[in-house]
């Protein structure tokens, strides 16, 4: 009897430990964290929503999704409550404690985008302050630069921001992406020679190839324009009709019919190894990319907005 009770007690403790460890794992799951965020965000009352979002951030102070919490609090303060002062106070408070340069950059960008819509002068002044300051998230300067290239923007700030983004870009695809946008801006400013010099260094980026092709075509360099457009379509098939690739190819190579083959030669890569990664899906199932070895895999990178 005594040994029976002991056995029962051991099984009970084991069950409790397993259950606690599963709960712990669930609590750290990105899906659980997002569910918590969505529950907090769904509250109708703005003050209650802010309070729950603050609890959410407190529960996950190191998790990347905390940025979504910050953004939603700022939005609630600025838009639902119309309290610009409180939004500024909250924003300043986050900056005092956040050292992650990407989180800081993301938040500064949200602030800039908000000011762009409601107080353009503040947006300009924020950008100037950031250009003089220590922030180093290239996307912050990239997005601000992009805004400044649009109507109502500012050419000097556009160029400064985009050049800063190029300096800060962490890898060549990111750098090439910004160079494509800067190249187009220079084209609009009738600085085509500068644009060409820049874009020819960014041919890994499909948008850069699109702009390059357009400039070269406008200059009458049809052969080089064609090469740029072939590179473009190799990575962005949807652009083929937009740039009139087939008719341009027929113009340059009237006897040739190997355009599709040329595109495929560039489209098929020799291939670095896919890095490993583990994820949870929106139904709570775990996935490890290594488990798909042995199958051809199509990975679709997607944003619902």
């Amino acid at each position: 009897m005594e040994s029976g009770r002991k056995l029962f007690f051991c099984i009970l403790v084991a069950c409790l430990v397993i259950s606690a460890s599963c709960s712990e794992k669930t609590r750290h799951s990105p899906l659980y964290i997002l569910e918590e965020l969505e529950t907090a965000s769904a509250l109708d009352d703005p003050e209650a929503r802010i309070e729950r979002l603050e609890i959410f951030i407190g529960n996950h102070p190191e998790h990347p999704y905390r940025v979504l919490g910050y953004r939603r609090i700022l939005k609630t303060l600025a838009e639902d409550l119309g309290d610009a002062g409180r939004a500024t106070g909250y924003f300043d408070g986050i900056l005092e404690k956040e050292s992650d340069y990407r989180v800081r950059g993301d938040l500064f960008y949200s602030r800039f985008a908000h000011f762009w819509d409601v107080d353009r002068e503040k947006a300009f002044s924020l950008a100037e302050r950031l250009l003089e300051g220590p922030e180093r998230y290239h996307r912050l300067f990239f997005y601000m630069g992009y805004y400044f290239t649009e109507d109502g923007g500012d050419a000097v700030l556009a160029e400064r921001c985009l050049k800063r983004a190029i300096e800060l870009a962490p890898n060549s695809p990111a750098r090439a992406q910004v160079m494509g946008v800067l190249g187009e801006f220079l084209e609009k400013e009738n600085r085509e020679d500068e644009a060409l010099g820049l874009l020819k260094k960014a041919t890994a980026d499909s948008y850069a190839n699109e702009v390059l092709g357009r400039i070269l075509r406008g200059m009458g360099d049809i052969g080089e324009a064609l090469e740029a457009y072939i590179r473009l379509v190799a990575s962005a098939p949807g652009a083929r009709e937009d740039v009139g690739l087939d008719s341009l190819y027929a113009l340059v190579y009237p006897q040739s019919s190997d355009l599709d083959e040329k595109i495929m030669e560039l489209r098929i890569l020799s291939g670095g190894a896919l890095p490993g990664g583990s994820f949870v899906d929106i139904d709570g199932r775990d996935h490890d990319l290594a488990d798909y070895r042995g199958s051809n895999l199509v990975l679709s990178i997607f944003s619902p907005t």
């Binding site: 999704y65 962005a236 990664g277 051809n296 679709s300």
Partner: protein, 90 residues
Amino acid sequence: MNLQKREDDLDFRLLILEVKGNLVKTREVVKDNESQVPVLLDSESFSREVLHVTSTPTMIIIDRRGRIRCRLIGTMEDMEGIVEEILSRI
């Protein structure tokens, strides 16, 4: 999402990697498209930081040996045809 119907006959697996953390909208899209494709949450910015994806949508095709063989960006009309052609060559 039509690509999912070709998984068996083209012999590949399809995964979606959601990068914005927008669970509500993602679930709406999945429901509207009646999709069964696993939608993975990219909470650590794997696509941006590791795969160096710079814009969405991007499609990456990986062969059986785990090598990246193709990157396609933007929307495309004949997605199935393009994927079929690539898979036949890798």
